[in-house]
Chain length 387, copies 2
């Protein structure tokens, strides 16, 4: 099947705020080949990822992503891997390329799965898909009282696990201690409590470590992204003193190697991969296998639509012991409406990857129109993108 077209849909809510809510916009990708279509989603900054697809070549090692995709054949998983390798080499100086490619790569697995009547996770080499325990992923309340209410609401919805993240966490030690206690109280004694610091401590190991006693008291399972994504030695230093609290990270990894470094040199206990950034399902699957072999738990990272959620599950549904999955709640209207298919907890509160071809998610094309942000890019007087 020859790749005939890659179409981008830049969607956004009418108002985009500085909240850490990644579902306020979306870049949906449709790939057409052999009379079939596949769908994927890139994480963040739609305009820049679109530009990376169409940008004029700077030189041989800085070609647009399109050069490695359009007109090429996709007849099996190896073709997708070959495309990934070509982009890594021919677009090595185009920093944004992995984010652009991520959505295309997902769409290619979706398309290939539809062609073969197989779910993507099976094409990735997994014989069976195991259910996951979803954690409701929410932001901290503005104060401990609000967090308490959010935690209670999550428990009332039937979730056994919840993650609270971002500001105001990190503002003050006392404030954080109150937030942690409130989250535990609201979630109940048996809930799985996860904390996401959103890189707020930079590389300040002591500042992060000050929160550990309160985390141990609140029986926090993981302490996510205490530091900037590349602060490996800070990660390792915190991990050496974090006791029962596992250090987690990895969402920023834009290639497989970055995730491996966080395992090898950052000593994380949980590796969190966003398929919309790391280059799609292929490298994510490699990270999952690498992690599993080293006793590190793989977790999906996703905070947008159910299309991205399905993609994020595909690389590790075959790993029975890696039980937790991120399940975004409180998504924007556009993210909720993007898919006809809804991935919801079953009667036991567990999440299943769709048992349908490809990513198993039907996109709601009316949503693509409703929230669409038109983009036109002209270079040298010529329109090189109109979407």
């Amino acid at each position: 099947m020859r790749i005939e077209a890659v179409d981008f849909f830049y969607l956004a809510m009418p108002q985009v705020t500085t909240a850490a809510d990644g579902s306020q916009d979306a870049l949906v990708v449709r790939v057409s080949a052999g009379g079939l279509t596949g769908w994927g989603e890139c994480e963040a900054s739609p305009l820049v990822s679109m530009a990376a697809f169409v940008t004029p070549m700077s030189h041989g090692a800085c070609r647009p992503v399109s050069a490695s995709v359009l007109g090429h054949e996709v007849n099996g998983p190896d073709d997708i891997r070959a495309m990934a390798a070509r982009i890594a080499y021919d677009s090595m100086d185009l920093l944004q390329a992995p984010h652009t490619w991520s959505g295309i790569e997902m769409a290619l697995w979706d398309l290939l799965g539809r062609a073969r009547g197989e779910p993507a996770w099976r094409l990735l080499g997994q014989a069976q898909a195991f259910p996951k325990t979803p954690y409701a992923s929410v932001l901290f309340g503005a104060d401990a009282q609000e967090t308490l209410q959010r935690a209670r609401a999550i428990r009332a919805q039937g979730f056994r696990a919840a993650k609270f993240g971002w500001a105001p966490f990190g503002d003050s030690l006392q404030g954080d201690e109150d937030q942690l206690a409130a989250a535990r109280e609201g979630l109940g004694a048996d809930g799985i409590l996860l904390i996401d610091a959103g890189q707020i401590f930079g590389a300040d190991v002591e500042a992060a470590a000050q929160r550990l006693p309160a985390m141990e008291r609140a029986r926090v399972t993981w302490f996510e992204e205490p530091f900037a994504a590349g602060a490996l030695s800070a990660y390792a230093a915190l991990a050496a003193r974090s006791g029962s609290v596992g250090v987690a990270g990895g969402e920023a990894a834009h290639d497989r190697d970055m995730a491996l470094h966080l395992i090898d040199h950052g000593a994380v206990r949980f590796i969190q991969i966003d398929c919309g950034r790391i280059g799609g399902l292929g490298p994510a699957r490699e990270v999952a296998q690498y992690a599993a072999a080293r006793g590190v738990t793989y977790v999906n990272h996703t905070f947008t639509s159910n299309l991205a959620l399905s993609a994020s599950l595909q690389p590790y549904v075959g790993l029975e012991d890696h039980r937790i999955c991120e399940y975004p709640t409180g998504l924007s209207a556009l993210a909720q409406e993007l898919t006809v298919t809804r991935i919801a907890p079953d009667a036991n509160g567990l999440i299943h990857a769709p048992d349908a071809p490809g990513l198993g998610v039907e996109v709601n094309e009316a949503t693509l129109e409703r929230y669409r942000v038109p983009v036109e890019i002209r270079v040298g007087g010529r329109v090189i993108l109109s979407a």
Copy 2:
């Protein structure tokens, strides 16, 4: 001084080819503040870096680079560092951001230097600037004979050091052995010979190691980028067996941490930093100090104009023992004509960073017009960039 404007100039040669010649296009940046201007240059993919400046915000941790720059004050080095930290946090999910910021950051040091009448290297904390031994940086010939001629020509021009890089290196062991012998022969017995593999071996340590005996015979000083930028364990494995040949790398680092990892976990003997990618002079200076403290030699990486060359020298001219510098030859006409100022070897064949305020380089504004590629970006029906 309040930053009033950041203007981008996308320049390109009439024909851009797949050669590994990074001077075929350029993204020049002009920053205006307090009635002064400063100039910088971003490495590669001008359109995408421009888009990262103006892109609409996706969420609080994915803001455009402009949000951290326009309207902010720049009165001293700490203001530049604060801006860098703000971008690292507020644009953490915008992958292209470091490349965009790199040119702006250079321009800010240039502007600040002009305001204070001081060269940028002094503002970076260096008391004295030491001369460097330039290496002529060229691509391999198509065969050994052509490489021999290039090496002889370089010696005839008075260079004591030369670097040969990229294809066809890596195509065959015998071909590479011939190329290495030819380069040594042409350069003469006393020349410093450097080899750049352009990541051709991916993560294949054995393939790279097969070239080591011929490199030792040709007395190669460094073996640059044998592997993909993030293949740290491959770097370390090769370094453990490379004998008299030092492994070099780092040009792809888009933040300080990535360069540090190559030192700490990749065991490179030479760390090569491109100020047009790593976020400008500030993080490059930090890498230089980190390297110097660990016995690793810092080297600039640059393959575009003399503006970028000056910027690339600023972070380490104070390190007397780090003697080698990249000095691109065979640049495209646009890169040659971009600056009125020419940085050329002195009577002893040594290169000096300009002893003039800021980067000490005067941009030829006629060149900005001659090679200009107009860009217009419309989002939601509104023109957000016209340059």
